[in-house]
Symmetry: C2
Subunit: 479 residues, 2 copies
């Protein structure tokens, strides 16, 4: 693949400034911007201010969005600002929205860290260890070095950028969705595509581009019998027991091999295409890594990578989470619970519709309850949960990202999806109706929320090149 | 029924001393001997001392058994003494062991009492309202008035008595079982039968004699899958979920109409005899009272008194109590619990054997788990729970009690059983291997653990006569 002169200069500049980028990463890791601990809240603000100052130094126009206050640890606290940055407003260029977050998970050396979590520690094997290195400070500032490099080189950035950096991602992203939705027709009206760098490679040998998420529909079904809990000695055998009914209903939802028993639920699942099968065959994943993350040999398709990942990403699943109202403590209690609520959820995929899922589940369970001939009362409530999402891999946003990976890493990226939800992705998708993708910087083994979180130096430096190349590719191919 | 001269004198004496008995009941109700509250512990001791002094006044030889200390409300507390009384040791007479308790449930006027719970309040309808009036101070001191009346009349009591009055019944009877078992061959070696007055009539119009209890076998079955809880978004559909397996197994134990699905479990249930059917037909019970105690129209046999009571007392039942390890709180959590323990119990009846129940349940569930083809691990543990018990209605102990009811009340008593367990009954039965029965003094609507607990004056006075008559009947017919 030929590299244009501007990109060749950009790569050389990035390589030459490695020490500068690492110094900057050390600076931000040293600010313990833990969003989930009231005591660290000033540090989150400090980190937001650091970022804003650095953006201003680079000529990025910034504004702060203040989502207001919230209550945490019994205190009313000011939420950290969402820093919005605008770099370029040329109507002839595409505008790329970039999302990242500047808050981090908590970390204590006593948790088992091999070094101070707030001091970036360079390891001989290239690991740069420190809290926030990979989640998400490395990727966030990586975007800034793309801008900086172009300025230093006197190169014009071929796209406009719109940065959205929040400080509450690890603690529920309070205020973010509202802001994106409210600014869809103002601040974000010119956005042509969205890039999120807050996830990880599937494996450790090649980058990925993430193009889909499962949705979720969460259900509470309640069986109410007696007016109060009863003693099983006195009433066992004489009254319809809500637990018995509920357990029967919960047992009719899914089989031990994961087959969903709700009639019609699989009807709308998008059929697997040959192109998709090809994607799954090529994925960089070791089944033993997945098994290690489960910690036991309980994978349903232990020797089938494709089936395992398809069931994680592109087929629905149904999980039984628990029961509210029943006995749950250690020991023995001889209670007949009066009212019990079974909790379960369905992870949905295109082209399943949350409303239709709700209807099918409710209709089925009501019919199954009727078959029980119980005198208890039954009620089911479904949350109107998150929709599933899948991006169009043929959109220039994806084509650009894939080409950028090929150019910088010399390999075609894994095309991955996620089994769970990443709310901001869906919010951007829904509010702006533009192509969204996830382009990660770190590896699967970075330990984002664990001890000894790291970003490999190679991922950081190549990651900066990747992000810049992606922008050039967009400019080259976007329609 | 003819009444002997001594009994006629006894009845006349009891009637003449009504005011004295009520004064004494007022005295004991005024001592708030709440065993479950550390602050009231001195009052429990005071009540024990009152009882001992009163027994000594009547020539009953007493001794105190001190069970030791226990920890409650964070304090180490001395357990109140079990007062043992011996009245008569004539080897030519039968020795009747009598059990009762002198502690009471807590009571606050602010709970909704219409009068001070510690002041015996005489109502125009004959109710004597006060905490402990029926549970169990009225019955306990009723026994003493039988002794007192015979002394005053110069009549010889035709049996020996062995009293066992404890002060921790409402708070777990700590130390009682150990004492009974350890003294079986010493203090209690001459006991010929046991009478417990700590329960209630089935209804409100006629007394009962209670001759059976269901046993209980409690089970914990555990399904273990992943090494830790998993996120359903990331792992749903790829791994065997312990909750799915457990719910399937729990659903194979009992049907919504209460039919137990464990093979062979009904094999040992003693067949219903014609004599039994006759007992059930005559029982004084109003189905609307049972429905009221459930608080909802969920009775399986709503219009069938016999079926309802047979299912409570003389058929086994299986109740599902809950699950440990699963999500149980309000709200939504998308967890795949790693290890879940289902809790259920079987109420057993003669001639079911706890060991055999354990074996059948374990074998069945292990086979059902194997059918699930799950890679999770399964384990079942059964407690060696309480045995079922049923007394021989033809034993002279029962014949005497039934005749005594007929003599004092002019009706044949209800012959009742209990669906739950009353541990002291089984302990006496097992440790002494003598006939045990329950001969209650109060009515079903006395509200033993509720506000406005009462003992009807009529029940108290006739109850004293009943207890005395029972002893005379034993002397007349015991072999």
């Amino acid at each position: 693949m030929t590299v244009t002169k501007p990109l060749a200069d950009f790569y050389a500049h990035v390589d030459a400034n490695e020490a500068h980028y690492i110094d900057k990463l050390r600076e931000v890791v040293a600010i313990p911007s833990v969003s989930s601990d009231a005591a660290y809240r000033p540090k989150v603000f400090e980190m937001g201010a650091w970022l804003e100052k650095e953006m201003q130094r680079l000529g990025i126009q910034t504004k702060r969005h203040h989502p207001g206050k919230h209550v945490m640890d019994g205190q009313e606290l000011e939420l950290p600002p969402i820093v919005i940055g605008t770099f370029g407003t040329d109507p002839k260029k595409k505008t790329v929205a970039v999302y990242g977050h500047y808050d981090v998970q908590p970390a204590l050396e006593s948790d088992g860290w091999d070094s101070d979590p707030w001091t970036l520690t360079m390891m001989p094997d290239g690991r740069m260890v420190g809290r926030g290195s990979t989640d998400d400070k490395g990727p966030v500032i990586g975007w800034l070095w793309v801008v900086e490099a172009h300025q230093k080189l006197g190169l014009e950035l071929p796209v406009n950028l719109k940065f959205v950096f929040e400080g509450m991602e690890e603690t529920g992203s309070e205020g973010l969705d509202d802001m994106i939705i409210s600014m869809a027709k103002t601040e974000f009206k010119d956005v042509d595509c969205v890039c999120i760098s807050d996830n990880y490679w599937l494996g450790t040998t090649k980058p990925c581009v993430t193009y889909g998420l499962r949705g979720i529909s969460y259900f509470n079904m309640t069986v109410q019998g007696p007016a109060w809990d009863l003693h099983s000695g006195v009433f066992g055998g004489t009254t319809h027991e809500p637990m018995t009914d509920l357990i029967h209903l919960m047992g009719r939802l899914v089989t031990p091999d994961g087959t969903i028993l709700v009639p019609g639920i699989m009807e709308n699942v998008a059929p697997v295409t040959d192109a998709e099968l090809e994607i799954y065959k090529k994925l960089d994943v070791d089944m033993s890594d997945i098994e290690a993350s489960v910690g036991a040999k309980t994978l349903i398709y232990a020797n089938d990578k494709s089936k395992t990942l398809m069931n994680r990403w592109r087929f629905p699943s149904l999980s039984l989470h628990g029961i509210e109202g029943a006995f749950y403590a250690p020991g023995a209690k001889t209670v007949i619970p009066a009212k019990v609520t079974g909790k379960f959820s369905i992870r949905s995929v295109p082209n399943m519709d949350p409303k239709e899922i709700n209807e099918k589940v409710s209709k089925y369970l009501e019919a199954e309850f009727a078959k029980l001939n119980s005198k208890n009362k039954f009620k089911i409530e479904g949350s109107h949960g998150g929709k599933p999402w899948v991006g169009d891999l043929n959109h220039w946003n994806y084509v650009a990202a894939i080409k950028a990976v090929e150019q910088v890493f010399g390999v075609t990226p894994d095309l991955t999806r996620e089994g769970g939800s990443i709310p901001v992705t869906l919010t951007f998708q829904t509010a702006l109706d533009k192509s969204v993708l996830l382009l990660p910087m770190g590896r699967s083994n970075d330990g984002a929320h664990s001890v000894n979180e790291k970003l490999d130096k190679d991922n950081y430096i190549k990651g900066i090149k990747l992000l810049g190349t992606y922008l050039h590719q967009i400019a080259a191919i976007a329609k």
